[in-house]
């Protein structure tokens, strides 16, 4: 491993080393606060390690990894999100009586998996990253062992993830059998040389889609999402909604660009059907839910559908749109889950719609944050979500995807309905004499984090230019 390799992969190595050290720390002395502080430090160091890595871009670590602007940007995104989730986690686990420290091993480990995905451009590293991510997630989802739903969710995820990994592997094998390559550019070149996609490769792609689609939680591989979101500890749900999906999406983008996916109409159609189905199924099923975690799960399915629309537009703007949307979606999702975390008490998570009745009049501040997050998910102006959705629609119009855009518009309206349903609930007059599980005082750290997220959310909604320029520049490099 050369020096340049070492520096380029700095963030990854830092975080991974930190996991090992923190394991030793726990072995020496169990202390929630120390472990927590150390993990925060680890994320910060990994984030700073991005700066020297910028000197060497674009840099490939043949044959598995590539570090360019795109991967560094997403590395930053993943690490920042992980950091924020970690910030929100402390109180949540402190209030619950299980052993807390191992959580701080698993979360950075899962983040490491996502980081591997972000820099990978080879089937091997893809699978490696995916498995690091998945295996850590098994543990994380079932972390609150005393809770029945948590266990159930963990086992469900274990079985389905293992199954989908098997499909993914089989798909990779089929693609390899024909092209003789496992690195993305190699596959692209081999296919271009052949001039068509043979059935075996198509079947391979289809099977890979099952594996990838499962991680992204798109229809028809979405069944797990609501149960896992509901059962997992809230910070873990936030992690699954953002980092796990985002990491996978980044590989998908790289793969699709490298194999020139737009040239093959079959792949396009497969993804288009998945996109439309995700939008409709996600929004439709969210309509009748009473549990906010489940609503968020279904809404995230729909959001992946929106992202796929930009993906399918086949223009450079589309890729930019995805990156921007991802940033907006990360902030918004973490913010929404953050509100849930802050509002949950040690007795029960605040998850039913009724828990939020009249919340605005009791906790005006948190309710305002939640309203901002939901409006951003709905794509209403002054929020990052609006600019994101605008960007996606713009990409779609640019690529003449009229049908997909109409589907997106219809779904935006459906989506709006359940978002405003939650908002309306928060502004209702609280029923008198009702027993609520919501706690009297809210943690300070959580509130500050939420405030920062809201500021970023509105900042991006009002002045998106800087972020756009960054993304545009970065996307020029990879296409």
């Amino acid at each position: 491993m050369s020096f340049a390799d070492f520096i380029s992969l700095g963030p990854l190595i830092t975080l991974f080393t930190a996991v090992v050290i923190s394991m030793l720390l726990i072995a020496i002395r169990r202390n929630h606060r120390i472990t927590y502080a150390f993990s925060l430090l680890a994320y910060l160091m990994a984030l700073t390690a991005i700066i020297p890595a910028m000197l060497y871009i674009p840099h490939t670590v043949p044959p598995l990894l590539v570090v360019d602007e795109f991967s560094l940007f997403n590395t930053g995104l993943v690490l920042t999100s992980g950091f924020i989730i970690l910030l929100l986690s402390y109180n949540y686990f402190e209030e619950r009586e299980e052993r807390k420290e191992e959580y701080y091993l698993l979360l950075p480990l899962a983040t490491t998996g996502a980081l591997v995905l972000v820099v990978s451009r080879h089937f091997m590293s893809l699978f490696l990253g995916l498995e690091i991510l998945s295996i850590s997630l098994y543990g994380l989802i079932a972390y609150l062992r005393a809770r029945e739903r948590s266990d159930e969710a963990g086992i469900k995820y274990l079985i389905l993830a293992a199954l989908s990994s098997a499909f993914l592997l089989f798909g990779m094998a089929l693609v390899y059998a024909f092209t003789g390559h496992m690195d993305f550019p190699g596959i692209g070149a081999a296919l271009r040389q052949a001039g068509y996609i043979p059935v075996t490769v198509l079947a391979g792609f289809g099977m890979m889609l099952i594996g990838i689609g499962f991680k992204l939680g798109v229809v028809p591989f979405h069944m797990w999402a609501p149960d896992i979101y509901e059962g997992a500890p809230l910070p873990v749900s936030a992690f699954i909604a953002t980092i796990s999906k985002g990491g996978m999406l980044v590989v998908l983008i790289r793969f699709y660009v490298d194999i020139h996916g737009n040239d093959y109409s079959m792949i396009w159609w497969m993804l288009a059907i998945v996109a439309v189905a995700s939008m409709f199924v996600g929004n439709w099923l969210a309509l009748t839910q009473q549990n906010i975690k489940r609503i968020l799960a279904y809404s995230s399915i729909a959001h992946m559908g929106y992202i796929l629309v930009a993906f399918l537009s086949g223009v450079q703007t589309g890729l930019e749109a995805i990156s921007f949307y991802l940033v907006a979606y990360f902030i918004t999702s973490i913010g929404a889950f953050g509100v849930l975390i802050v509002m949950s008490s040690s007795v029960q998570d605040a998850e039913t719609l009724d828990d939020y009745r009249g919340m605005f009049w009791r906790y005006p501040w948190v309710a305002t944050v939640f309203t901002a997050m939901l409006l951003s998910l709905a794509g209403i102006p002054l929020t990052a979500g609006f600019i994101g959705k605008f960007y996606i629609v713009m990409a779609g119009v640019n690529g003449h995807m009229w049908f997909l855009l109409f589907m997106l518009v219809i779904n935006s309206v459906i989506g709006l309905y359940y978002y405003i349903r939650i908002i309306a609930m928060m502004f209702k007059t609280p029923a008198t004499g009702e027993v609520t599980y919501i706690k009297p005082s809210l943690p300070v750290a959580g509130n500050i984090t939420l405030m920062l997220l809201t500021l970023i959310l509105i900042g991006l909604g009002v002045y998106p230019t800087a972020m756009m320029q960054l993304i545009q520049q970065m996307m020029k490099m990879i296409v």
Partner: protein
């Protein structure tokens, strides 16, 4: 710069009055009132001093916002915007006044929402950048949603949701059309921009232009509202608090009309001519159908709401007549309807405060109890049915005069609408103020605050009817599409 100020004053005022309410709710009301009166004074000052001759554009202000996409903070004011702004701040200030006693819960948040709606409306009337237009268009929605959903009557949530979904669906279609226009303009000229002035005269095929025009038009037809997109309106108007109804009827509907005048006609002149007969037909349908439905209502606010559908039909007929007479009539109608319908909603609100019902079957004989309110209502009901000497007469007369040159049959049916208007208007007076009443107890007549509001409105409607020339002069300073 002064244009930016017009938008930022209510924004800042909204935040300030929300904060102030924590200390003292009275401050919150005074702050809101002061902001709107300041804006009214600025707009009035511009109106009083703007040169009678010279260019159309009185003020312009432009800075880049997202240069990457060709989005700029592009504000401009011509005669049409100016008139609409004066109306906005006038009704806005009255809306604060009528809520003085009606709204006594969550006062700060109420004024925050009120001022934000008004800021959004101001933005819509001023912006010359299509992205910004959509931005402000959406920005009006959320606070309005809260105004209806929190301070409304019994079925407020249903009404608020319906309002939100209808307008949002229309708005998204407009967004698609805006984006398509953006890309077509970019592809044909190489300049990617949302600037209104650049997008005028975008070269494109007629087929495309028609589709795009429909995208814009549906958003505005929903807002206007035209039959068959009107079903949100009676619910929203009925369930909203009085201030909300005034703003909905007086201002929000006008943004739809304004959008047609400002965007649909100038951007797609040929397509507009192509669809004109159909749209005028929708307008006439609205006039007559809205009027008939109004006649059938028993809920006073619902009745007034349906009269809006009827009156807005005239706007549609006038806007697609393509001659200056009709346009002046349309602008006049927008203002006169804003004032007369706003006033009727205020009276309905005042009645509700006193007798706690909106059902006109349970009213009757109220003239003898409240003669002042009765005579005020008489004036506005007469305005609504188009009595000469009041603003609405001038407006509808001009529209009919203009549309006669464009389409005779449409005009004839639109004129029949005036008869329907007479029927429902007189029914209001008959059922509410005349006829037998079984109330033995005394009811308080208008108090000083309400008197100030009503007198201001009466003055306005009389001035519009008797001396409409200043308004007509100003309205000529805009960009009409004449065939």
């Amino acid at each position: 710069m002064i244009l930016l100020l017009l938008i930022t004053i209510p924004l800042a005022g909204g935040l300030l009055s929300w904060i102030a309410a924590a200390r003292n709710t009275l401050w919150s009301r005074y702050i809101a009132l002061a902001c709107l009166l300041t804006d009214l004074a600025i707009a009035g000052q511009i109106w009083a001093t703007h040169p009678a001759s010279g260019g159309r554009w009185l003020y312009q202000y432009k800075v880049d916002w997202v240069p990457h996409f060709g989005i700029s903070l592009n504000l401009a004011m011509d005669g049409l915007s100016l008139l609409m702004l004066v109306l906005t701040f006038f009704l806005g200030a009255l809306a604060v006044l009528i809520s003085w006693k009606e709204i006594n819960q969550r006062v700060g948040f109420f004024h925050f929402n009120l001022l934000f709606v008004l800021a959004g409306i101001t933005g819509v009337f001023l912006t010359m950048d299509l992205f910004l237009f959509y931005f402000f268009w959406e920005m009006m929605l959320i606070p309005m949603y809260f105004l209806i959903g929190i301070w409304g009557h019994e079925h407020r949530e249903y009404a608020a949701n319906k309002f939100f979904l209808f307008t949002q669906a229309g708005g998204l279609l407009m967004l698609l059309a805006i984006l398509a226009l953006y890309f077509i303009h970019g592809a044909n000229t190489g300049v990617y921009t949302y600037d209104y002035f650049s997008l005028l005269h975008t070269p494109m095929q007629q087929e495309t232009a028609r589709w795009l025009m429909l995208g814009f038009l549906i958003a505005f037809l929903v807002k206007l509202p035209a039959v068959p997109f009107h079903t949100w309106l009676p619910d929203a108007h009925t369930e909203a608090p009085t201030a909300g109804s005034v703003i909905l009827a007086g201002l929000l509907l006008k943004t739809g009309a304004y959008g047609i005048l400002r965007l649909v006609l100038p951007l797609f002149p040929e397509a507009s001519v192509y669809f004109a007969p159909w749209i005028m037909f929708l307008g006439v349908l609205g006039i007559i159908y809205g009027g008939m439905l109004a006649y059938a209502q028993t809920d006073l606010k619902r009745l007034i709401a349906y009269t809006s559908v009827s009156h807005m039909g005239f706007v549609l007929v006038g806007a697609f007549s393509f001659n200056v007479l009709a346009y002046e009539g349309v602008v006049m109608q927008m203002i006169a309807h804003g004032i007369s319908t706003g006033a009727l909603f205020i009276i309905a609100g005042a009645l509700y405060e006193r007798i706690h019902t909106r059902n006109i079957q349970e009213m009757g004989g109220l003239w003898s109890k409240m003669p002042v309110m009765g005579s005020a209502a008489m004036i506005f009901v007469m305005a609504s049915l188009g009595l000469p000497g009041l603003g609405n007469f001038v407006a509808e007369f001009l529209i009919l005069l203009g549309s006669w040159q464009a389409n005779r049959w449409i005009t004839i049916f639109a004129a029949i609408g005036l008869v329907v208007a007479t029927a429902y208007s007189l029914r209001i007076m008959q059922k509410v103020f005349f006829g037998p009443g079984d109330r033995q107890y005394a009811l308080p007549d208008l108090n000083k605050r309400e008197l100030v509001i009503i007198v201001a409105l009466v003055m306005a409607i009389l001035l519009l009817g008797l001396h409409p020339q200043p308004v007509l002069n100003t309205s000529q300073k805009t960009d009409y599409v004449v065939r």
